[in-house]
Amino acid sequence: MSVWRLVLREMKHRKANFVLSLLSVTVAIACLVGAQTLLRSDEIQTETILAEKQVEIESAITKREEAVAAAGEALEDSVRKDMLKLGFNVLIVPENQDLSELHLNGTLTETMPESYVDKLANSKIVTINHLLPSVTKRVAWPEKDIDVIVQGTRGEVPIMHRGLKKPLLDAVPPGTMVVGYQIHSKLGLKADDKVTLLGKEFTVKTLHPERGSSDDVTVWIDLAEAQKMLGMENVINAILALECGCTGDRISQIREEIAGVLPGTNVIEKHSQALTRAESRAKAKVAAETALQAEQEAGQAALARETKSRTDIQNQRAGLVGILVPLVLIGCALWIGFLAFGNVRQRNSEIGILRAIGLSSNQVLAIFLVKAGLIGLIGGIIGAAVGVLIGIQFGSLPPSGDTLQRIFATSAVFMTVVLAPLLAPIFSAIASWLPAQMAAGRDPALVLQAE
């Protein structure tokens, strides 16, 4: 005979007491585990919602970024094309060149070494492109009896640290001539006509359409031939270039950069209307980028709001659980204690005789605590299972194996479910402690006398 056997027989005999006690432990543990499971279920749902929201925002921002990037590329391309259409828009001339001469006559008189263009091409400049050295001089074309601007060019000099770019205009091959509109229309020139200029014969290669500028009274020939004809060997009047699509004070940036490479030169910017248009577009691009950044910030703010809202709800629920669960636990503990107290009263005579036939007070205590522990163990196991089921059933996640796995992935829930059946016997024993002590302290003589 053992305490265990006695306890099991008694539980079997007093089924109502056993069932009610078991129910109390089950409710307490189910409430504890269920609350944890529900909170975890909420947490998982929050994680899912926030992750979806994050993806949604990121996706929208990515699309917007792509759209802005595409628009930016299109803009840059558009600006580049505009620039290309306009041709060279930067002129590098010797510092002492009188610019009024250029504006009044379309010609230049001061020179600088031709090697300047190579020096510039070998530098690391970034603000300009497409370098074209030239000599320009207004001369009387004695053979035709008209004044023209002779411009000698040798074709573009590539900037070495950049990739090769398609030239804005082709070089004029030696022995050929490109003729401006006013000249060829006045002289009735056609392509492949032979003309003589300052004693040298040229074949007309190209006839320019009307441009409405000094180009209309200009003829273009090979640079070396022009230099020889005009007595300007190894010197040039200007370097034409195409500025990049910079924003801000462009000309200052270009001047600063070129001054570092070619001191003693001056930089003039042409075609400001187109540049203003390009600037507007650049500003539009900046505005689009700013709008994108604002959208990113708005997305992040929306996400933060959602996170805060979900966290607030979770905190409220956790707070409620923090109050309700202890209340339920206390209620169940009191109920278990009350049932144990009733059990002790019911077994008064039995306690008396067991003490009389030799059981110690500790053995009587053990009888009640073992019973409480056993009820706690069974109730803990059932309660943990019921709690998980309730948590899943009333949680916001679909009941599935995956849900279970996700819920148990958190150590808090896992530990609660694992520890509940182990802690429930202690909980039950504590709740039954006072009645058990009362039983152990019963004086058998008093009990037997009362009987």
Binding site: R9, H13, R355, G358
Partner: protein, 223 residues
């Protein structure tokens, strides 16, 4: 001397003041002796039985059971002492209602944990003619069977002293006779029996009868 009570006094707090339940009683029961204590209700018979059973300490005087003062022991040691040395039989049987006859008889072994208790319990149950009731609960037994089961329980740990409080009070003559026979057998085997009873017929089974009146020893006669 297995039971030796000397000048024992015990008072209770009653509704109308202190009641002297046992007033300077001295009593010795040797091994092999069967002593009956008779007296009217409230004369202190049961109190004297509890004193002798190590359940109620006297306020003065001494109690020696099997040569040892149980009240000098700690509470737990006294419980073990009772389990080892004293058997109890009561008028109300005091069987545990949800245990079978076998488990009831085995109940004292919870205290002693003695090996072979199961075998001894079965022998006792057989000896008391309850083999066919082995797995029955007290509710399924007759009064006589219940008292025999209680007797078997009292004898499980082979006590030296048997204390019986009105053991025949709820039994018919036949069963009462059988219970008294078992008590006599216990005494014949060398044990000391102290029987508390109203019943003169039961007292007649004892070798010695002691009368108590108002907590005092009145007279003693040989049966």
């Amino acid at each position: 001397m297995l039971v030796d009570i000397q000048d024992a006094k015990k008072t209770y707090q009653g509704a109308s003041g202190q009641v002297l339940a046992v007033d300077g009683v001295s009593l010795s029961v040797d091994g092999g002796e069967f002593v009956a204590v008779q007296g009217p209700s409230g004369c202190g018979k049961s109190t004297m039985l509890l004193l002798a059973g190590g359940l109620l300490a006297p306020e003065s005087g001494s109690v020696q059971i099997a040569g040892e003062d149980p009240y000098a022991l700690t509470a737990d040691a006294r419980s073990k002492f009772r389990a080892d040395n004293i058997g109890f039989v009561f008028q109300q049987f005091h069987l545990v209602p949800y245990l079978s006859v076998l488990d009831n008889v085995l109940a004292p072994s919870i205290a002693t944990g003695s090996p072979g208790a199961d075998q001894r319990a079965r022998e006792l149950i057989d000896q008391f003619g309850l083999s066919h009731r082995l797995e029955h609960t007290p509710g399924e037994l007759s009064s006589g069977e219940r008292q025999r089961a209680a007797l078997a329980r009292a004898l499980l740990n082979e006590p030296k002293v048997m204390l019986a409080d009105e053991p025949t009070g709820n039994l018919d003559t036949e069963n009462a006779t059988e219970v008294l026979k078992h008590l006599r057998d216990f005494a014949s085997a060398g044990g000391a029996v102290l029987l508390v009873t109203h019943d003169a017929q039961a007292a007649a089974a004892a070798a010695r009868v002691i009368h108590l009146r108002d907590g005092k020893l009145d007279t003693a006669t040989e049966a």
